[in-house]
Symmetry: C2
């Protein structure tokens, strides 16, 4: 049942205690929301996983929706910021000739590295985001936190493909983000389909393939339609 981290009550200052408990609540909520969604998790579930009383959820986070938003907001600036820096670094180093593949490496690999290096908590956040992205509740959260970095990517892609009409770039991004979210979700489907030859939590395997795969796709956009 309670396979989560049980709080040890080695008490320090109130500020520390406050911060620690909040983090534990966010960790537990992140884990549960990532698997079961906003409506599939009760505040009692979260409290139980932390080992505290349900009402503490309300003490620290006004209500369920706020807790959900707080889970999103905790790590979003980290992933967003890292990708933004990587894109700016790439832009500077590519000068007048950025490539689609270069931009996608900066965007995708930077993000995947974060999950690869960040351990279980970050993997849970990744799955949480994938779920959120698919959800009406989550749509605005995505917009608010990730629009800037996505538009930055798009702006580089436009410069890399000056002859490709703008909507084509957005369609390309639409495909990219779908594949990325499917990766982050780690549903296990590819494992079963491939009889274990691929594993859905093998982010390094995705990282090795994805930017190049998608870059090739972009090169087909804006061509005369075949039909």
């Amino acid at each position: 049942m309670s396979d989560g981290a049980v709080a040890k009550r080695v008490r320090r200052s109130k500020a520390e205690q406050r911060a620690e408990t909040q983090e534990q609540i966010l960790d537990a909520a992140e884990y549960l929301f990532s698997r079961n969604g906003l409506h599939g998790v009760t505040l009692r579930d979260v409290a139980q996983r932390v080992g505290v009383h349900t009402t503490l959820m309300h003490y620290y986070f006004q209500d369920k929706r706020s807790l959900f938003a707080a889970v999103f907001a905790r790590r979003a600036p980290v992933t967003s910021g890292r990708r933004m820096e990587a894109l700016e670094r790439y832009e500077a180093e590519a000068g007048d000739h950025p490539t689609v593949e270069g931009a996608l490496h900066a965007f995708l690999d930077t993000d995947l590295d974060l999950y690869i290096e960040g351990g279980e908590a970050w993997m849970n956040y990744a799955a949480f985001c994938a779920r959120v992205s698919n959800t009406p509740e989550g749509a605005e959260l995505m917009d608010v936190h990730f629009d800037p970095v996505v538009l930055k990517l798009v702006s580089i892609l436009k410069r890399a493909l000056p002859d490709t009409p703008e909507p084509e770039i957005f369609w390309g991004y639409h495909f990219v983000t779908g594949s990325l979210m499917n990766t982050l979700a780690r549903t296990g489907r590819i494992d079963r389909l491939s009889a274990g030859r691929c594993q859905s939590d093998d982010f390094p395997a995705v990282k090795r393939r994805m930017a190049r795969f998608m870059a090739a796709g972009f090169s087909t956009l804006g061509m005369a339609p075949a039909e």
Copy 2:
């Protein structure tokens, strides 16, 4: 509130009435589940949308999970069957030289056409599937209903790419299905990102681009890693 179809009680035979009410329940459930997920919908929501009493949900469908599964099962054979036929037809006509793009056209375009031509109900089913695919509850449903047609696609892709190791094909499919599910979900995100230049319910636009985009991606798989 009740923007759904309100049942007109023009009574016919019991068998007809039974079938009609079941369809209405499935339609309402499909609509609501596609937007809010299993846990985000109550049986009362569904009943209200149909205009009947909640207990009728239990009369026709044992419990909530069964209703959810029934929504999936109602249309799955249609999309699966159509794609299977299209793949077999393509296989026959391509003879010894199937192409990745040809197989993907058969797989993707056939599916997208179904939603394009099928009206609102099929669009709801598409969104329902997208949501299900991202969900622990839905994972086995996907496996049960869609494995055969996906494995058929994979088998053609293998013949089209005889020098590409098998796991690469599965990774390619992983990317394809992510993009497809992101399309079916119609979250509206691409609309907002692109300031209206693209629309997430514009399936014809996706159909025009997707098979070719993904086919180009497949051609990069199995190459020596760049790093």
